[in-house]
Symmetry: C2
Subunit: 95 residues, 2 copies
């Protein structure tokens, strides 16, 4: 499996709107991406604007399916106004 | 749910031994901690000494059960010689 951790910072006051976009996206990921094992949004307990995604994929093909999906690209556009900067994405081997 | 991300750096050449300790621990977590939803060790693709744990717990009681368990404390001792420094642990709300 491949793990991904994406760090995202939102603009002040945009948390709720951002979370609403992601809730919809996560539901689509859950139902339409059989190769995505985990797609979990988490919010820092010390900085309310600081989020991470914890993601697990069966393989590279699953990551590609996720990244090229209509729902992911639509969510990318929908969340853009709420982001304070580009997401920082790191890839890992899941052991 | 509560999410935890723990960052761990191991000493050069200690990766395999560290991973062996964690494989045993993860099995005990899986079978003996009903409140632990995810306990996943991941290794950076760019720095072989850099690991993270992606962890999800049902609630605070589950985190406490994990931290006070015999198997976690035994693993803590077993992994100590392989660590290049203290783990960095951050807590999150899982949304």
């Amino acid at each position: 499996m491949i793990a991904v951790i994406a760090d995202i910072t939102v603009k002040d006051g945009s948390g709720e709107q951002f979370e609403a976009v992601i809730a919809e996206l996560a539901e689509k990921v859950r139902t339409e991406e059989p190769g995505t094992v985990l797609y979990q949004l988490i919010r820092s307990k010390t900085d309310a604007n600081s989020y991470k995604f914890m993601e697990l994929y069966q393989d590279g093909a699953a990551i590609k399916a996720h990244g090229t999906s209509e729902h992911f690209q639509a969510a990318g556009k929908a969340m853009a106004p709420f982001l304070a900067g580009a997401p920082q994405i790191e890839y890992f081997d899941a052991l």
